[in-house]
């Protein structure tokens, strides 16, 4: 085969291959959101129970992704889970923002929900959120339901 034709084919192959890698990363994967976070600040919150929350789970406010879970640690003194969040620097939240662990859909994965309060002072890097609501554990919920039903039955 002619040298230039061969070069052209190899060139096309390599360009197509590398382009598909980029397409896979951006269109199929979440590289576009991973690298697009930009500047962020760090806030933490203590939970009694984090359920199935994982590192890199989204932090949402009003349903919009505003950050990601950076780290989850167990506090051996207070026996709570300490969750560190990376929040995009473009968004500022009041000091009395409440944070809860929610589930997307019935069987979806868990994420952090931020609900803004009314304070005029805003959260800064390294702050801790006081108002937290733990993940709902299905077994506890069912147990409570059964207990209430039993109590109802007893009172009749």
């Amino acid at each position: 085969m002619d040298r230039t034709t061969l070069d052209a084919w190899v060139g096309i192959f390599v360009v197509v291959g590398i382009t598909t890698l980029f397409i896979l990363a951006l269109k199929v994967g979440n590289a576009s959101t991973t690298f697009n976070v930009g500047e962020s600040y760090r806030i933490s919150a203590d939970f009694d129970n984090i359920g199935g929350l994982k590192v890199r789970a989204p932090v949402k406010s009003a349903g919009v992704v505003v950050g990601r879970v950076n780290d989850i640690q167990f506090d051996g003194k207070k026996f709570v889970a300490r969750v560190t969040l990376n929040v995009d620097r473009r968004y500022e939240f009041p000091k009395d923002t409440s944070v809860s662990i929610l589930t997307s859909g019935l069987l979806g994965e868990q994420y952090i929900g931020l609900e803004a309060g009314g304070d005029s002072a805003v959260l800064k890097d390294g702050d801790t959120i006081k108002l937290t609501q733990s993940a709902v554990v299905l077994e506890k919920l069912i147990g409570q339901f059964l207990y209430n039903k039993a109590a109802e039955g007893g009172s009749k």
Binding site: M1, L6, D7, W9, V10, I12, F13, V14, V16, G17, I18, T20, L21, I23, L24, A25, K27, V28, G29, N30, A31, S32, T33, T34, R56
Partner: protein
């Protein structure tokens, strides 16, 4: 008390023959493994030529290993993706989550099927060709002729083929995965009518760049090294007869397929433990 060296006389000759056969096989296997490792290291050490004359030597090998494998990779990727979408939809719609079919197709392709199936196809298309070519070069004494002319056959013949294969394999795996996702899209969205927005957004939520795409890429690089090294070694080691070359070609496909599947298990165990 019978001394240890005369135990053989107590055992029937047929049993001893069988035992000797097993011992011979083991010694031979270990010897070949060592020879293959040395061959691989020598190839790596003498691959400077493949990069110094990249356009002259290695380009040709990328053409033969990569460009000519494109058709089989694209067609197989498309069909694998379409079958995954059909089967996945069939199961997922029972649980009312047919939108998750995009996640299923993308994750299984990027993590497992893309690297593994494209490596298996690569082994049977490009690997067997490499073995047959080098085996025949050896049988017709072209390799000895090169040595006579003080041309190093490892640097001139083996090195460029090795790097051509190693550079082509990850690109082929990426093309396979992308075509598979496109095939899944065709079946799920165009044919069945799954919601397009949910299909892509659920896929993007589930597929992680570092965890899935980079790991899949690493897998394909490892498979590329394994397949090309096995193919080149089998060719170089083939007995210089017609029978020897045919046996070596068969061994290339069998050994590299087993190596791909075994390596895939080991890599998966390391990459996705408990995540």
């Amino acid at each position: 008390m019978v001394p240890i060296w005369s135990w053989g006389r107590l055992v029937p000759e047929r049993v001893m023959k069988g035992l000797r056969g097993v011992g011979h096989q083991v010694v031979n296997g270990v010897w070949r493994l060592g020879y293959a490792t040395r061959f691989f290291l020598v190839t790596l050490m003498r691959s400077a030529t493949s990069f110094r004359r990249f356009r002259g030597l290695t380009f040709r090998e990328i053409y033969f290993a990569g460009v000519l494998s494109l058709i089989i990779i694209i067609v197989s990727g498309l069909f694998v993706g379409m079958v995954l979408a059909l089967q996945g939809y069939e199961t997922l719609q029972r649980y009312g989550s047919s939108e998750a079919v995009g996640t299923l197709v993308a994750l299984s392709l990027v993590r497992e099927l893309g690297p593994v199936i494209s490596a298996l196809l690569f082994a049977s298309r490009a690997g067997s060709a490499m073995t047959a070519e080098i085996g025949l070069m050896k049988a017709t004494e072209q390799i000895s002729a090169m040595e006579m002319m003080a041309v190093d056959p490892i640097a001139r013949v083996i090195g460029p083929r090795f790097w051509g294969g190693v550079l082509s394999m990850p690109l082929l795996a990426a093309i396979f995965s992308a075509m598979g996702v496109f095939g899944g899209y065709l079946i799920a969205v165009v044919l069945i009518g799954v919601d397009e927005g949910a299909f892509w957004s659920q896929m993007q939520n589930a597929v992680d760049f570092r965890q899935d795409i980079v790991n899949g890429f690493i897998k394909s690089v490892v498979f590329g090294v394994a397949v090309t090294a096995i193919a080149l070694f089998e060719g170089y080691d083939a007995p210089p007869t017609a029978e020897g070359v045919s046996g070596a070609t068969t061994r290339t496909v069998v050994t590299s397929s087993l190596a791909i599947l075994g390596l895939d298990f080991i890599l998966t165990a390391f990459m996705f433990k408990g995540v």
